[in-house]
């Protein structure tokens, strides 16, 4: 599945619900499926700043040339949001990660989380994900 296809799938999943609480229920459920970060990476170095809840994010470049993300958070809604990002970005090449836009977040009605004042730090998470991709891209070119 391409990034666009995964994003569309997520949009479809959310569009099944009209009520905000149902959408958040879905996010909470998604949080339970989050690929968890290895305990040894759950350190301050992996903490993303700018979040009201704590988010740890780790990335690895595998032999197939793709980046794989794992994460955790102490808030379950935040875990759901991180998992959305991981579904979209994990298992992609650095170039795919770097060129992807975030329009799907708006489409599923989580636009409020994109505002810089919103403290769950979605913007910080995306920045960090793209930063990992940038670093791995440079690494691959060397």
């Amino acid at each position: 599945m391409t990034i666009q296809e995964t994003e569309q799938k997520i949009v479809d999943e959310f569009s099944a619900f009209d009520d905000w609480l149902d959408k958040y229920n879905l996010l909470i459920e998604m949080g339970k499926d989050l690929p968890l970060i290895d305990a040894r990476y759950k350190t301050n170095n992996h903490l993303i700043s700018g979040c009201q809840s704590r988010v740890w994010l780790h990335a690895e470049l595998a032999d197939d040339g793709k980046v794989y993300f794992t994460a955790d958070s102490d808030a379950v809604i935040t875990k759901g949001i991180v998992n959305l990002l991981i579904r979209v970005f994990s298992g992609r090449t650095p170039d795919e990660v770097l060129t992807a836009d975030m329009a799907f977040i708006d489409k599923i009605g989580l636009r409020e989380h994109l505002s810089p004042t919103r403290s769950n730090g979605l913007i910080s998470m995306v920045k960090q994900i793209k930063l990992y991709a940038q670093v791995y891209k440079l690494k691959m070119n060397n």
């Binding site: 909470i28 809604i77 769950n120």
Partner: protein, 410 residues
């Protein structure tokens, strides 16, 4: 006599246009009053009237409008001085808000009176705006910032305060009413204790002006600061009260128009109080809105409102206790209508997000008092803070939202 009438939120709710809306298809339950209050129509009208009919610059024009505007502006100063029982109206200085008022004192008083090795004393429950200005002043001067301990109940440890007063700090800066815990501090006693040693006291009254009767001469504090917007007035206006004898010794904070008497290229003679501390064109419309908000608030009798809010607070605490799911952060004996809590073991951000979707506006996080939150060893709290227009039905909706959040997150 207003003091004998019973105050109820239903008497005023219709006065607040912003409360009449729905969010997420549910009636808005606004419980973030410690962050800012909604504005009654009379305040909105006052500001609109100013811009529609009265707007012009004050203090300098000889023309008709300017004279009327100056009278209105100075009338607001006199009204506020009288309401708070200041000794002189020129002890009331208009600022942008609490933050600017504290920065003014930290900068002006600090530069004049605080030197290397001196102590400054604040409490462990201060809002960042009554912490960071003093911290930065101390860092730049090589002075020492002492912090009064907070008990597990969320109260100031008066024994520790007494010990720290023995260091002879140059100033004590404490909050009147904690924005996180709702604690009403024993400020009269604390001021008395400081004055025994001739130490001046600044009271951060950002949270108290909308809830408590203020008598500045009885309190006898040296500085008293607050924002309009937490007391049903517009944003962008606040007050610094300072005793004349202190203000007269302090250098100006900002320079420019209005605050000068006589300007030459080589030197300037500064204006007298209060203008010396009001550089530039003030936010006249907001000042008039502030007067109008305080008149509105006090027309019901502040003691009546306090009594109502106190009953509402205890109803809320009782209902919250009965859910068996609430962990209260701080249980002060002298408690204003602010409650910090957690729902079971859930993260405050999670519960707060779900409550928001149920139309209940609460605040989550550290509430600009990070060191205090760290003391309680929690990632943050959910804060419900009440105002004069909150009803018992809204408390019931809050309880429903807490139970729903708990069920979804369990």
């Amino acid at each position: 006599m207003p003091a004998q009438t019973v105050f109820k939120a239903e008497m005023v709710r219709a006065d607040f246009p912003a409360l009449q809306q729905q969010v997420f298809n549910r009636p808005l339950v606004y419980l973030d009053n410690a962050a800012t209050t909604q504005k009654p129509q009379v305040v909105i009208d006052r500001v609109r009237d100013w811009y529609e009919h009265e707007n012009c610059n004050i203090h300098r024009g000889v023309h008709h409008l300017s004279q009327l505007a100056t009278e209105a502006f100075e009338g607001a100063r006199q009204y506020i001085a009288g309401l708070l029982n200041a000794k002189h109206s020129h002890e009331i200085i208009f600022t942008r808000g609490t933050t600017e008022s504290i920065n003014l004192v930290a900068s002006s008083f600090g530069n004049k009176f605080i030197n290397q090795g001196d102590h400054v004393l604040i409490s462990g429950m201060e809002h960042h705006s009554n912490l960071v200005p003093w911290q930065q002043l101390c860092l730049s001067k090589g002075a020492i910032l002492d912090i009064i301990d907070i008990t597990s109940e969320g109260e100031i440890d008066l024994n520790h305060y007494e010990q720290l007063l023995a260091e002879n700090p140059k100033i004590v800066a404490i909050t009147h009413l904690s924005n996180v815990l709702g604690t009403i501090n024993p400020v009269e006693e604390m001021i008395r204790m400081a004055h025994i040693r001739d130490i001046p006291v600044l009271l951060d009254a950002a949270q108290s002006v909308a809830h408590l009767r203020i008598d500045l001469q009885k309190l006898d504090c040296d500085f008293f600061v607050f924002s309009g917007h937490k007391a049903y007035a517009p944003m962008g206006v606040g007050v610094l009260y300072g005793k004349e004898e202190w203000l007269n010794k302090m250098p100006p904070y900002q320079f420019g128009g209005e605050m000068v008497d006589n300007v030459h290229f080589e030197q300037t003679v500064f204006n007298e109080l209060p203008f010396r501390f009001e550089a530039g064109t003030p936010n006249v419309g907001a000042v008039l809105g502030l007067e109008s908000a305080l008149r509105y608030l006090h027309s019901f009798g502040i003691e009546n409102i306090l009594h109502y809010e106190d009953q509402l607070l205890h109803y809320a605490i009782k209902r919250m206790e009965s859910t068996g799911k609430i962990r209260f952060i701080g249980r002060p004996k002298n408690h204003a209508a602010v409650i910090s809590f957690l729902v079971g073991d859930t993260h405050p951000y999670d519960a707060g997000t779900i409550m928001d979707k149920l139309g209940v506006a609460v605040r989550t996080g550290h509430h600009c008092a990070q060191p205090l939150i760290d003391l309680f060893n929690v990632p943050g709290t959910i804060r419900a803070s009440f105002g004069m227009y909150n009803t018992y039905e809204e408390v019931d909706i809050l309880i429903g939202a807490i139970e729903r959040a708990d069920a979804m997150l369990a």
